[in-house]
């Protein structure tokens, strides 16, 4: 077919290169075979419609398999649920036991101690603003949800990223999985998750984890991989174990990139709160959801602003903690 040939020519012209895989003897014939098979299929089929469709069968089989899982693994799901719910409830209770002025004061103080005085002013005023918008309770709920998910995400992601940086094999395996975690629409697993974990915060936390973990894994991995060989060589010459190497040299040096990952994780966790509200999580996400159900973009925007404020506060505090961690790892 002419277009394909033209395309090949075009691509070669564009890239100015021969195929990179051309070194292997079998690649050229295999490629020809492949393209050939495609065209034969095309010949027998109506050219612009694919000849058969097994989608619904496969889809149905997956549904059946999910039912089986639900029937047989419920104790496991229950256990996971119990842990997450325990964390969330404790945190929310603690925050509720504190009244709003104490909470705002505490958050402002934390911002001051860990970040800066300007940040404390920002925290206090933005939270007060949210309170005047009648969003205080939602904010607390979202805060609790996010603190739990971000903590879990970082606890999972950073070690995983470190691990991936140590092995090319693992990295190669992990990469498409992470791609999948980030792009598989959360809606897809949220509904089965309800079957496993009931409506509420648990499926929300898990879906958020799946979505928020990848960037921190990737950036931790990248940060460690692009460290200067000379510094690593010197560290190696001291007879460091793998762990020492990581803790004393690689991780502290990779901190700027890891921090970027943690930032992305935090923001992505927060970008999930609306979706979390679809499966029963409360908080600002629910407010957004409600406002939009009523076509009140203004109210949605206010709740969204609340999410943004929470994002900025949590992000800045997390970043400051990470930096502090670096300082701690850097000093003897």
């Amino acid at each position: 077919m002419p277009p394909a040939a033209t395309r090949q020519l075009l691509t070669q012209l564009l890239t100015g290169r021969l195929p990179t895989g051309a070194g292997r003897w079998w690649s050229a014939p295999l490629a020809i075979l492949l393209v050939g098979v495609l065209f034969v299929i095309a010949y027998f089929a109506i050219a612009d419609e694919f000849p058969f469709d097994v989608g619904r069968d496969v889809g149905h089989r997956i549904d059946v398999w999910l039912d089986w899982l639900e029937d047989n693994l419920s104790p496991l799901f229950q256990a996971i649920k119990d842990v997450i719910v325990w964390f969330l409830i404790s945190l929310e209770d603690m925050m509720l036991w504190l009244t709003w002025p104490a909470m705002i004061g505490a958050i402002a103080l934390t911002s001051w101690l860990l970040v800066s005085f300007r940040m404390a002013l920002f925290s206090a005023s933005s939270l007060l603003l949210l309170a005047t918008f009648g969003l205080w309770e939602s904010t607390v709920e979202t805060l609790a949800l996010i603190i739990v998910t971000v903590t879990l995400s970082i606890m999972i992601a950073v070690p995983m990223g470190v691990w991936a940086s140590q092995s090319d094999r693992l990295d190669a395996i992990l990469r498409p999985i992470l791609d999948g975690m980030q792009t598989m629409p959360s809606f897809v697993y949220l509904v089965p998750a309800i079957a496993f974990f009931s409506l509420g915060n648990t499926p929300a936390v898990l879906a958020t984890l799946i979505y928020a973990v990848p960037p921190a894994v990737r950036l931790t991995n990248l940060g460690i991989r692009q460290l200067p060989a000379e510094t690593l060589e010197a560290a190696e010459s001291f007879g460091m174990t793998r762990n020492q190497m990581l803790l004393k040299v690689k991780i502290p040096l990779a901190i700027p990139t890891i921090m970027a990952g943690v930032n992305q994780t935090t923001l992505m966790a927060l970008s999930m709160v609306v979706i979390a509200s679809l499966v029963g999580a409360g908080g600002l996400g629910l407010d957004v959801n409600r406002a939009l159900g009523r076509i009140e973009p203004g109210n949605g925007f206010l709740a969204g602003l609340g999410i943004v404020f929470v994002a900025i506060i949590i992000d800045r505090v997390t970043q400051a903690l990470t930096r502090r961690q670096q300082a701690a790892l850097g000093s003897d």
């Binding site: 949220l190 309800i194 079957a195 009931s198 409506l199 509200s277 029963g280 409360g282 629910l286 159900g293």
Partner: protein, 302 residues
Amino acid sequence: GGEEEKTTVVFSDLNWTSSEIQVRAAAYIVEHGLGYPTELVAGDTVSLFQGLINGDTQVTMEIWPAQQPWIDELEDPDTIALLGDSLDENWEGWVIPQYVKDANPGLVSVSDLPEYMDLFVTADSRGKARFIDCVPGWACEQVNGNKVVAYGLEDVLELVKPGSGAALFEDLESTYARGEAWLGYMWGPTKPTATLDLYRLEEPEWSEDCWNGDQGCAYPTSEVRIAVFHTLLEDAPDVVEFLRAWDFSADVQVQSEIWMSDNNASPDEAAIWYLKTYPDTWSAFVSSDVAEAVLEALAEES
């Protein structure tokens, strides 16, 4: 019975206005009249349906015809029980703004569409008329598809799928506000259909045969129903009784929505407004002493 023994009744808090108002109104009666603690769990249609069949929630005030297939597919049909109607006089159909109709008096029924399709062509509709379809996944999406074929409109209509009811409303309302042509699927009673002047295109009359055949005819009048999780039948028979009697009539529904919108009010306020404004309507669903208790509680609301 002892107050402590009463189970908490969990309502599915679906995220559109009619449901939000009537869920709150019903929950208010269940709590203050029948004395059950109540709880609302928010989510979207699919999640809350899944939650209902799990027993995470016990009452869903609106089960739309679109959800009938889900119920049909249930392994155990007794998981949930469908009680009475919650919204009545529901219609579905293809509509255009009245001002379009006025400008083109000849556009009366779906069969006139090929002639007037140029009215609805836009940059991204590939030269066909832009038709705003029903929300993907709802039963009406399938039906609309069948109708297009049955009416021979495949080359006339470019189907644009709104991802949610809100998106559909917003597109209609903003186009209407600009005074441009709009063609698409709508249902009522809803706030847009109550506040905007729309014209419903004529279709062949609904019949059983047609509906089971190529569906080349008008929608039937649909029923929105109340569903409860099966345990509620035993745990709270008086609540079930009340819900069976419940009816949120079209007029009341639209009035409540309009009041809420005009007063920039929350659904909680709208529910209280409804309970205060239409005591006669809802008193009919409960015994007099229950109604008494509710009125007492209402008196304390500011």
